[in-house]
Symmetry: none
Subunit: 219 residues, 2 copies
DNA sequence: GCCAAGCTGACAGGAACCTGACGGGCCGGG
DNA sequence: CCCGGCCCGTCAGGTTCCTGTCAGCTTGGC
Protein backbone atom coordinates (compact mmCIF):
# COMPACT_ATOMS: atom_id res chain seq x y z
CA UNK A 1 0.00 0.00 0.00
CA UNK A 2 1.56 3.27 -1.16
CA UNK A 3 0.43 6.55 0.28
CA UNK A 4 1.10 10.07 -0.95
CA UNK A 5 1.20 12.69 1.79
CA UNK A 6 0.78 16.32 0.73
CA UNK A 7 1.48 18.52 3.74
CA UNK A 8 3.60 21.65 4.08
CA UNK A 9 3.84 21.73 7.88
CA UNK A 10 7.15 19.99 8.52
CA UNK A 11 6.39 19.01 12.10
CA UNK A 12 2.97 17.53 11.39
CA UNK A 13 4.17 16.00 8.14
CA UNK A 14 7.02 14.19 9.84
CA UNK A 15 4.72 12.90 12.56
CA UNK A 16 2.22 11.59 10.03
CA UNK A 17 4.96 10.03 7.91
CA UNK A 18 6.43 8.24 10.94
CA UNK A 19 3.03 7.01 12.05
CA UNK A 20 2.24 5.55 8.64
CA UNK A 21 5.67 3.95 8.45
CA UNK A 22 5.16 2.48 11.92
CA UNK A 23 1.99 0.84 10.60
CA UNK A 24 4.10 -0.86 7.97
CA UNK A 25 2.83 1.19 5.04
CA UNK A 26 4.89 2.98 2.44
CA UNK A 27 4.62 6.75 2.27
CA UNK A 28 5.94 9.53 0.02
CA UNK A 29 5.82 13.02 1.44
CA UNK A 30 5.69 16.19 -0.63
CA UNK A 31 5.12 19.74 0.57
CA UNK A 32 3.92 21.41 -2.61
CA UNK A 33 1.16 20.74 -5.12
CA UNK A 34 3.47 20.81 -8.14
CA UNK A 35 5.60 18.15 -6.47
CA UNK A 36 2.41 16.19 -5.84
CA UNK A 37 1.55 16.39 -9.54
CA UNK A 38 4.96 15.00 -10.40
CA UNK A 39 4.60 12.21 -7.90
CA UNK A 40 1.17 11.27 -9.21
CA UNK A 41 2.48 11.14 -12.76
CA UNK A 42 4.54 8.20 -11.63
CA UNK A 43 1.20 6.75 -10.53
CA UNK A 44 0.65 3.76 -8.32
CA UNK A 45 -0.67 5.40 -5.17
CA UNK A 46 -3.44 3.71 -3.23
CA UNK A 47 -4.31 6.68 -1.05
CA UNK A 48 -3.71 10.43 -0.94
CA UNK A 49 -3.57 12.47 2.26
CA UNK A 50 -4.19 16.07 1.27
CA UNK A 51 -3.73 19.17 3.35
CA UNK A 52 -6.03 21.92 2.14
CA UNK A 53 -3.80 24.87 3.05
CA UNK A 54 -0.66 24.81 0.95
CA UNK A 55 1.83 27.51 -0.12
CA UNK A 56 1.38 27.16 -3.85
CA UNK A 57 -2.34 26.70 -4.31
CA UNK A 58 -5.59 25.64 -2.82
CA UNK A 59 -5.95 21.96 -2.11
CA UNK A 60 -9.59 22.06 -3.12
CA UNK A 61 -8.77 23.02 -6.66
CA UNK A 62 -6.19 20.26 -6.78
CA UNK A 63 -8.74 17.73 -5.64
CA UNK A 64 -11.35 18.91 -8.12
CA UNK A 65 -8.83 18.73 -10.95
CA UNK A 66 -7.88 15.24 -9.84
CA UNK A 67 -11.46 14.03 -9.95
CA UNK A 68 -12.35 15.82 -13.12
CA UNK A 69 -9.69 13.88 -14.99
CA UNK A 70 -11.10 10.62 -13.75
CA UNK A 71 -8.67 9.88 -10.92
CA UNK A 72 -10.42 7.57 -8.44
CA UNK A 73 -7.64 7.17 -5.87
CA UNK A 74 -9.23 7.71 -2.45
CA UNK A 75 -8.40 11.02 -0.80
CA UNK A 76 -8.44 11.84 2.90
CA UNK A 77 -8.43 15.56 3.54
CA UNK A 78 -6.52 17.08 6.45
CA UNK A 79 -7.97 20.42 7.42
CA UNK A 80 -7.81 22.91 10.24
CA UNK A 81 -10.78 23.13 12.52
CA UNK A 82 -11.77 26.67 11.64
CA UNK A 83 -12.05 26.07 7.92
CA UNK A 84 -15.64 24.96 8.07
CA UNK A 85 -16.57 25.85 4.54
CA UNK A 86 -13.50 24.05 3.24
CA UNK A 87 -14.79 20.89 4.72
CA UNK A 88 -18.13 21.06 2.99
CA UNK A 89 -16.45 22.13 -0.21
CA UNK A 90 -14.06 19.21 0.04
CA UNK A 91 -16.88 16.76 0.30
CA UNK A 92 -18.44 18.15 -2.83
CA UNK A 93 -15.08 18.02 -4.57
CA UNK A 94 -14.80 14.30 -4.00
CA UNK A 95 -12.92 13.67 -0.79
CA UNK A 96 -13.49 10.29 0.84
CA UNK A 97 -12.95 11.23 4.44
CA UNK A 98 -11.82 14.02 6.69
CA UNK A 99 -9.51 14.59 9.59
CA UNK A 100 -9.73 17.87 11.44
CA UNK A 101 -6.49 19.20 12.90
CA UNK A 102 -5.31 18.58 15.47
CA UNK A 103 -6.08 14.90 15.04
CA UNK A 104 -5.00 11.83 16.92
CA UNK A 105 -2.43 9.76 15.06
CA UNK A 106 -4.20 6.57 16.09
CA UNK A 107 -7.32 8.00 14.48
CA UNK A 108 -5.34 8.56 11.31
CA UNK A 109 -4.17 4.94 11.34
CA UNK A 110 -7.74 3.76 11.77
CA UNK A 111 -9.01 5.86 8.86
CA UNK A 112 -6.18 4.69 6.63
CA UNK A 113 -6.86 1.10 7.61
CA UNK A 114 -10.51 1.58 6.80
CA UNK A 115 -9.76 2.98 3.37
CA UNK A 116 -7.18 0.27 2.79
CA UNK A 117 -9.67 -2.44 3.58
CA UNK A 118 -12.25 -0.94 1.28
CA UNK A 119 -10.08 -0.23 -1.70
CA UNK A 120 -6.93 -2.29 -1.80
CA UNK A 121 -6.03 -5.91 -2.32
CA UNK A 122 -9.20 -6.70 -4.15
CA UNK A 123 -8.69 -5.55 -7.73
CA UNK A 124 -12.43 -5.27 -8.27
CA UNK A 125 -13.81 -4.03 -4.98
CA UNK A 126 -17.51 -4.68 -5.50
CA UNK A 127 -19.61 -4.81 -2.38
CA UNK A 128 -23.10 -6.22 -2.59
CA UNK A 129 -25.96 -5.40 -0.31
CA UNK A 130 -29.10 -7.24 -1.21
CA UNK A 131 -29.75 -6.51 -4.88
CA UNK A 132 -27.38 -3.56 -4.83
CA UNK A 133 -23.89 -3.80 -6.29
CA UNK A 134 -21.65 -1.08 -4.97
CA UNK A 135 -18.29 -0.17 -6.43
CA UNK A 136 -16.66 1.93 -3.74
CA UNK A 137 -13.71 3.08 -5.81
CA UNK A 138 -15.80 4.13 -8.79
CA UNK A 139 -18.56 5.47 -6.57
CA UNK A 140 -21.19 3.71 -8.61
CA UNK A 141 -24.15 1.57 -7.69
CA UNK A 142 -26.04 -0.92 -9.83
CA UNK A 143 -29.28 -2.77 -9.29
CA UNK A 144 -30.35 -5.42 -11.77
CA UNK A 145 -27.61 -4.17 -14.06
CA UNK A 146 -29.05 -0.68 -14.09
CA UNK A 147 -26.89 2.12 -12.74
CA UNK A 148 -28.06 4.33 -9.90
CA UNK A 149 -26.71 7.85 -9.70
CA UNK A 150 -26.09 9.36 -6.29
CA UNK A 151 -25.18 12.94 -5.56
CA UNK A 152 -22.21 13.82 -3.36
CA UNK A 153 -24.29 14.18 -0.21
CA UNK A 154 -26.23 11.03 -0.88
CA UNK A 155 -23.06 9.08 -1.40
CA UNK A 156 -21.51 10.43 1.78
CA UNK A 157 -24.61 9.44 3.68
CA UNK A 158 -24.74 5.97 2.16
CA UNK A 159 -21.05 5.45 2.87
CA UNK A 160 -21.62 6.32 6.50
CA UNK A 161 -24.09 3.46 6.70
CA UNK A 162 -21.96 1.06 4.64
CA UNK A 163 -18.91 1.53 6.82
CA UNK A 164 -20.89 0.44 9.86
CA UNK A 165 -23.45 -2.10 8.72
CA UNK A 166 -26.10 -2.75 11.32
CA UNK A 167 -24.93 0.12 13.50
CA UNK A 168 -27.41 2.65 14.70
CA UNK A 169 -26.41 6.16 13.64
CA UNK A 170 -28.10 9.13 15.27
CA UNK A 171 -28.97 12.18 13.25
CA UNK A 172 -26.31 14.09 15.18
CA UNK A 173 -23.67 11.55 14.14
CA UNK A 174 -24.77 11.74 10.52
CA UNK A 175 -24.67 15.52 10.63
CA UNK A 176 -21.11 15.34 11.95
CA UNK A 177 -20.27 13.08 9.04
CA UNK A 178 -21.94 15.20 6.37
CA UNK A 179 -21.17 18.63 7.72
CA UNK A 180 -18.63 20.38 9.87
CA UNK A 181 -18.96 19.77 13.57
CA UNK A 182 -20.53 23.07 14.35
CA UNK A 183 -22.31 23.64 11.07
CA UNK A 184 -25.82 24.22 12.19
CA UNK A 185 -28.43 22.41 10.17
CA UNK A 186 -31.59 23.87 11.55
CA UNK A 187 -33.92 21.69 9.62
CA UNK A 188 -34.65 18.13 8.70
CA UNK A 189 -31.89 17.92 6.10
CA UNK A 190 -30.89 14.43 7.20
CA UNK A 191 -34.46 13.21 6.92
CA UNK A 192 -34.69 14.64 3.44
CA UNK A 193 -31.48 13.00 2.31
CA UNK A 194 -32.55 9.68 3.78
CA UNK A 195 -35.79 10.03 1.90
CA UNK A 196 -33.98 10.77 -1.35
CA UNK A 197 -31.64 7.83 -0.80
CA UNK A 198 -34.56 5.49 -0.19
CA UNK A 199 -36.22 6.66 -3.35
CA UNK A 200 -33.12 5.72 -5.32
CA UNK A 201 -31.97 2.61 -3.51
CA UNK A 202 -35.24 1.12 -2.36
CA UNK A 203 -37.18 1.83 0.77
CA UNK A 204 -35.94 -1.21 2.70
CA UNK A 205 -32.27 -0.27 2.61
CA UNK A 206 -32.28 2.21 5.48
CA UNK A 207 -34.35 1.55 8.57
CA UNK A 208 -35.68 4.14 10.96
CA UNK A 209 -35.35 3.70 14.70
CA UNK A 210 -37.85 6.25 15.83
CA UNK A 211 -36.40 8.62 18.38
CA UNK A 212 -32.90 7.18 18.02
CA UNK A 213 -31.62 7.30 14.47
CA UNK A 214 -31.15 5.22 11.34
CA UNK A 215 -29.37 2.03 10.44
CA UNK A 216 -28.55 0.02 7.35
CA UNK A 217 -31.03 -2.83 7.13
CA UNK A 218 -29.96 -6.42 6.81
CA UNK A 219 -30.03 -7.41 3.16
CA UNK B 1 -12.83 -8.00 22.77
CA UNK B 2 -14.88 -10.84 21.33
CA UNK B 3 -13.29 -13.34 18.99
CA UNK B 4 -14.95 -15.90 16.75
CA UNK B 5 -12.86 -19.01 16.18
CA UNK B 6 -13.79 -21.17 13.19
CA UNK B 7 -11.76 -24.39 13.40
CA UNK B 8 -12.82 -28.01 12.99
CA UNK B 9 -9.75 -29.65 14.50
CA UNK B 10 -10.81 -30.26 18.10
CA UNK B 11 -7.32 -30.51 19.53
CA UNK B 12 -6.02 -27.36 17.88
CA UNK B 13 -9.32 -25.55 18.46
CA UNK B 14 -9.27 -26.22 22.17
CA UNK B 15 -5.65 -25.14 22.43
CA UNK B 16 -6.36 -21.88 20.62
CA UNK B 17 -9.47 -21.24 22.67
CA UNK B 18 -7.58 -21.76 25.92
CA UNK B 19 -4.73 -19.56 24.80
CA UNK B 20 -7.09 -16.69 23.91
CA UNK B 21 -8.97 -17.11 27.17
CA UNK B 22 -5.67 -17.03 29.04
CA UNK B 23 -5.00 -13.67 27.40
CA UNK B 24 -8.21 -12.42 28.94
CA UNK B 25 -10.22 -12.27 25.74
CA UNK B 26 -13.63 -13.75 25.05
CA UNK B 27 -13.92 -16.56 22.47
CA UNK B 28 -16.76 -18.31 20.72
CA UNK B 29 -15.69 -21.49 18.97
CA UNK B 30 -17.57 -23.07 16.09
CA UNK B 31 -16.48 -25.96 13.92
CA UNK B 32 -18.61 -25.41 10.84
CA UNK B 33 -19.22 -22.54 8.45
CA UNK B 34 -22.99 -22.61 8.82
CA UNK B 35 -22.57 -22.31 12.59
CA UNK B 36 -20.21 -19.40 11.93
CA UNK B 37 -22.88 -17.71 9.83
CA UNK B 38 -25.35 -18.06 12.68
CA UNK B 39 -22.86 -16.65 15.17
CA UNK B 40 -22.09 -13.69 12.94
CA UNK B 41 -25.75 -12.86 12.55
CA UNK B 42 -25.65 -11.95 16.21
CA UNK B 43 -22.84 -9.62 15.16
CA UNK B 44 -20.45 -7.85 17.46
CA UNK B 45 -17.21 -9.77 16.93
CA UNK B 46 -13.98 -7.84 16.92
CA UNK B 47 -11.90 -10.49 15.23
CA UNK B 48 -12.42 -13.72 13.30
CA UNK B 49 -9.92 -16.58 13.28
CA UNK B 50 -10.68 -18.64 10.20
CA UNK B 51 -9.37 -22.06 9.33
CA UNK B 52 -9.32 -22.51 5.57
CA UNK B 53 -9.88 -26.28 5.53
CA UNK B 54 -13.30 -27.08 6.92
CA UNK B 55 -15.68 -30.02 6.48
CA UNK B 56 -18.55 -28.04 5.00
CA UNK B 57 -16.92 -25.67 2.59
CA UNK B 58 -13.87 -23.73 1.65
CA UNK B 59 -12.94 -20.94 4.00
CA UNK B 60 -11.85 -18.72 1.12
CA UNK B 61 -15.36 -18.58 -0.27
CA UNK B 62 -16.71 -17.79 3.18
CA UNK B 63 -14.26 -14.96 3.58
CA UNK B 64 -15.04 -13.53 0.16
CA UNK B 65 -18.76 -13.66 0.88
CA UNK B 66 -18.13 -11.92 4.18
CA UNK B 67 -16.26 -9.06 2.54
CA UNK B 68 -18.65 -8.76 -0.36
CA UNK B 69 -21.47 -7.94 1.99
CA UNK B 70 -19.47 -5.17 3.59
CA UNK B 71 -18.31 -6.93 6.73
CA UNK B 72 -15.16 -5.17 7.94
CA UNK B 73 -14.34 -7.30 10.98
CA UNK B 74 -10.66 -8.20 10.77
CA UNK B 75 -9.90 -11.80 9.85
CA UNK B 76 -6.78 -13.82 10.60
CA UNK B 77 -6.53 -16.92 8.46
CA UNK B 78 -5.19 -20.17 9.91
CA UNK B 79 -3.95 -22.44 7.21
CA UNK B 80 -1.91 -25.56 6.75
CA UNK B 81 -1.48 -24.71 3.13
CA UNK B 82 1.97 -23.26 3.11
CA UNK B 83 1.83 -22.27 -0.49
CA UNK B 84 2.30 -18.88 -1.91
CA UNK B 85 -0.83 -18.98 -4.03
CA UNK B 86 -2.99 -19.70 -1.01
CA UNK B 87 -1.52 -16.81 0.93
CA UNK B 88 -2.12 -14.45 -1.95
CA UNK B 89 -5.61 -15.79 -2.41
CA UNK B 90 -6.36 -15.33 1.26
CA UNK B 91 -5.10 -11.78 1.36
CA UNK B 92 -6.94 -10.87 -1.82
CA UNK B 93 -10.11 -12.30 -0.37
CA UNK B 94 -9.82 -9.81 2.47
CA UNK B 95 -7.78 -11.46 5.20
CA UNK B 96 -5.84 -9.12 7.46
CA UNK B 97 -3.17 -11.59 8.49
CA UNK B 98 -2.42 -15.29 8.34
CA UNK B 99 -0.76 -17.98 10.40
CA UNK B 100 0.62 -21.15 8.90
CA UNK B 101 0.13 -24.33 10.90
CA UNK B 102 1.77 -25.47 12.99
CA UNK B 103 2.08 -22.11 14.68
CA UNK B 104 3.33 -21.11 18.08
CA UNK B 105 0.53 -20.08 20.44
CA UNK B 106 2.58 -17.13 21.66
CA UNK B 107 2.79 -16.04 18.04
CA UNK B 108 -0.98 -16.21 17.82
CA UNK B 109 -1.33 -14.01 20.89
CA UNK B 110 1.05 -11.50 19.38
CA UNK B 111 -0.89 -11.34 16.10
CA UNK B 112 -4.18 -10.95 17.91
CA UNK B 113 -2.74 -8.18 20.03
CA UNK B 114 -1.46 -6.45 16.93
CA UNK B 115 -4.81 -6.59 15.20
CA UNK B 116 -6.55 -5.48 18.36
CA UNK B 117 -4.33 -2.43 18.59
CA UNK B 118 -4.74 -1.63 14.93
CA UNK B 119 -8.51 -1.70 15.12
CA UNK B 120 -8.99 -0.30 18.56
CA UNK B 121 -10.39 2.79 16.87
CA UNK B 122 -13.80 1.20 16.36
CA UNK B 123 -14.77 -0.45 19.59
CA UNK B 124 -17.97 -2.42 19.57
CA UNK B 125 -18.52 -3.39 23.17
CA UNK B 126 -20.87 -6.33 23.47
CA UNK B 127 -22.45 -7.08 26.80
CA UNK B 128 -24.09 -10.42 27.37
CA UNK B 129 -26.78 -11.10 29.91
CA UNK B 130 -27.98 -14.64 29.87
CA UNK B 131 -29.11 -15.38 26.34
CA UNK B 132 -29.19 -11.68 25.48
CA UNK B 133 -26.39 -10.05 23.51
CA UNK B 134 -26.42 -6.31 23.89
CA UNK B 135 -24.46 -3.87 21.76
CA UNK B 136 -24.74 -0.56 23.54
CA UNK B 137 -23.24 1.57 20.79
CA UNK B 138 -25.36 0.01 18.06
CA UNK B 139 -28.35 -0.10 20.36
CA UNK B 140 -29.13 -3.60 19.27
CA UNK B 141 -30.12 -6.68 21.22
CA UNK B 142 -30.06 -10.24 19.96
CA UNK B 143 -31.38 -13.43 21.48
CA UNK B 144 -30.58 -16.70 19.71
CA UNK B 145 -29.37 -14.63 16.78
CA UNK B 146 -32.71 -12.89 16.43
CA UNK B 147 -32.81 -9.14 16.83
CA UNK B 148 -35.05 -7.50 19.40
CA UNK B 149 -36.31 -3.99 18.70
CA UNK B 150 -36.61 -1.54 21.56
CA UNK B 151 -38.04 1.95 21.46
CA UNK B 152 -36.11 4.95 22.76
CA UNK B 153 -37.74 4.90 26.19
CA UNK B 154 -37.32 1.19 26.55
CA UNK B 155 -33.63 1.55 25.80
CA UNK B 156 -33.22 4.26 28.37
CA UNK B 157 -34.87 2.06 30.96
CA UNK B 158 -32.90 -1.03 30.06
CA UNK B 159 -29.67 0.94 30.08
CA UNK B 160 -30.42 2.13 33.59
CA UNK B 161 -30.57 -1.48 34.75
CA UNK B 162 -27.53 -2.56 32.74
CA UNK B 163 -25.35 0.18 34.16
CA UNK B 164 -26.10 -1.04 37.69
CA UNK B 165 -26.48 -4.80 37.44
CA UNK B 166 -28.05 -6.39 40.49
CA UNK B 167 -28.71 -3.08 42.17
CA UNK B 168 -32.19 -2.16 43.32
CA UNK B 169 -33.62 0.87 41.53
CA UNK B 170 -36.66 2.65 42.93
CA UNK B 171 -39.35 4.00 40.65
CA UNK B 172 -38.32 7.52 41.65
CA UNK B 173 -34.74 6.85 40.55
CA UNK B 174 -35.93 5.44 37.25
CA UNK B 175 -38.16 8.42 36.67
CA UNK B 176 -35.21 10.74 37.24
CA UNK B 177 -33.28 8.71 34.70
CA UNK B 178 -36.00 8.65 32.04
CA UNK B 179 -37.44 12.12 32.30
CA UNK B 180 -36.30 15.66 32.89
CA UNK B 181 -36.05 16.69 36.52
CA UNK B 182 -39.29 18.54 36.72
CA UNK B 183 -41.26 16.39 34.34
CA UNK B 184 -44.24 15.25 36.30
CA UNK B 185 -45.26 11.69 35.64
CA UNK B 186 -48.41 11.27 37.63
CA UNK B 187 -49.10 7.74 36.60
CA UNK B 188 -47.65 4.29 36.46
CA UNK B 189 -45.53 4.97 33.40
CA UNK B 190 -42.54 3.10 34.82
CA UNK B 191 -44.66 0.05 35.51
CA UNK B 192 -45.96 0.15 31.96
CA UNK B 193 -42.50 0.40 30.46
CA UNK B 194 -41.21 -2.41 32.65
CA UNK B 195 -44.10 -4.50 31.43
CA UNK B 196 -43.32 -3.72 27.81
CA UNK B 197 -39.63 -4.51 28.35
CA UNK B 198 -40.44 -7.86 29.92
CA UNK B 199 -42.67 -8.73 27.01
CA UNK B 200 -39.81 -8.16 24.61
CA UNK B 201 -36.84 -9.43 26.62
CA UNK B 202 -38.43 -12.19 28.65
CA UNK B 203 -40.18 -11.96 31.97
CA UNK B 204 -37.20 -13.12 34.05
CA UNK B 205 -34.91 -10.27 33.06
CA UNK B 206 -36.30 -7.64 35.42
CA UNK B 207 -37.37 -8.60 38.93
CA UNK B 208 -39.84 -6.77 41.14
CA UNK B 209 -39.06 -5.98 44.76
CA UNK B 210 -42.50 -5.24 46.05
CA UNK B 211 -42.64 -1.81 47.66
CA UNK B 212 -38.99 -1.08 46.88
CA UNK B 213 -38.40 -1.03 43.14
CA UNK B 214 -36.88 -3.16 40.39
CA UNK B 215 -33.58 -4.83 39.70
CA UNK B 216 -31.90 -6.67 36.86
CA UNK B 217 -32.20 -10.39 37.58
CA UNK B 218 -29.25 -12.74 37.61
CA UNK B 219 -28.75 -14.24 34.15
C1' DG C 1 -60.88 -11.95 52.96
C1' DC C 2 -59.04 -7.38 52.49
C1' DC C 3 -56.05 -3.94 50.93
C1' DA C 4 -52.06 -2.15 48.79
C1' DA C 5 -48.96 -2.74 45.10
C1' DG C 6 -48.10 -4.20 40.72
C1' DC C 7 -49.49 -5.81 35.93
C1' DT C 8 -51.32 -5.16 31.34
C1' DG C 9 -54.72 -4.29 27.42
C1' DA C 10 -56.69 -0.36 25.28
C1' DC C 11 -56.66 4.21 23.60
C1' DA C 12 -56.01 9.02 22.29
C1' DG C 13 -52.77 12.80 21.75
C1' DG C 14 -48.79 14.34 19.88
C1' DA C 15 -43.88 14.00 18.85
C1' DA C 16 -41.11 12.17 15.30
C1' DC C 17 -40.82 11.24 10.74
C1' DC C 18 -41.80 11.35 5.60
C1' DT C 19 -42.13 13.64 1.29
C1' DG C 20 -43.64 16.79 -2.39
C1' DA C 21 -42.67 21.44 -3.49
C1' DC C 22 -39.90 25.60 -3.79
C1' DG C 23 -36.16 28.73 -4.29
C1' DG C 24 -31.26 30.01 -3.83
C1' DG C 25 -26.67 28.99 -5.35
C1' DC C 26 -23.39 27.07 -8.35
C1' DC C 27 -21.74 25.62 -12.82
C1' DG C 28 -21.39 24.89 -17.75
C1' DG C 29 -23.02 26.07 -22.35
C1' DG C 30 -24.41 29.20 -25.64
C1' DC D 1 -23.67 37.73 -19.73
C1' DC D 2 -27.78 35.24 -19.62
C1' DC D 3 -30.04 30.97 -19.25
C1' DG D 4 -31.03 26.25 -17.93
C1' DG D 5 -30.06 22.33 -15.10
C1' DC D 6 -28.77 20.28 -10.94
C1' DC D 7 -27.92 19.99 -6.07
C1' DC D 8 -29.36 20.97 -1.59
C1' DG D 9 -31.46 23.21 2.51
C1' DT D 10 -35.91 24.69 4.08
C1' DC D 11 -40.74 24.34 4.82
C1' DA D 12 -45.46 22.61 5.33
C1' DG D 13 -48.90 19.19 5.41
C1' DG D 14 -49.79 14.42 5.99
C1' DT D 15 -48.66 9.95 8.24
C1' DT D 16 -46.85 6.75 11.57
C1' DC D 17 -46.44 4.84 15.88
C1' DC D 18 -44.49 5.90 20.51
C1' DT D 19 -46.02 6.80 25.03
C1' DG D 20 -48.56 8.48 29.14
C1' DT D 21 -52.84 7.63 31.10
C1' DC D 22 -56.50 4.98 32.79
C1' DA D 23 -59.22 1.04 34.24
C1' DG D 24 -59.80 -3.48 35.42
C1' DC D 25 -57.42 -7.37 36.87
C1' DT D 26 -53.77 -10.21 39.44
C1' DT D 27 -50.55 -10.92 43.08
C1' DG D 28 -48.77 -10.92 47.71
C1' DG D 29 -48.80 -9.87 52.66
C1' DC D 30 -51.30 -10.11 56.93
Amino acid sequence: MRILLIEDDTVLGAAVRDQIAADGRSVDWVTRLDAAEDALRGAGYDLILLDLMLPDGRGIGFLKALRSRGEVTPVIVLTALDQVTDRIEGLNAGADDYLVKPFDLAELSARIGSVARRYSGNPNPIVTHGALEIDLSARSIHRDGRPIQLTAREWALFEAFLSRPGQLLSKAQLEDKLYAFNAEVESNAIEVHVSRLRKKLGSAVIETERGMGYRLGRP
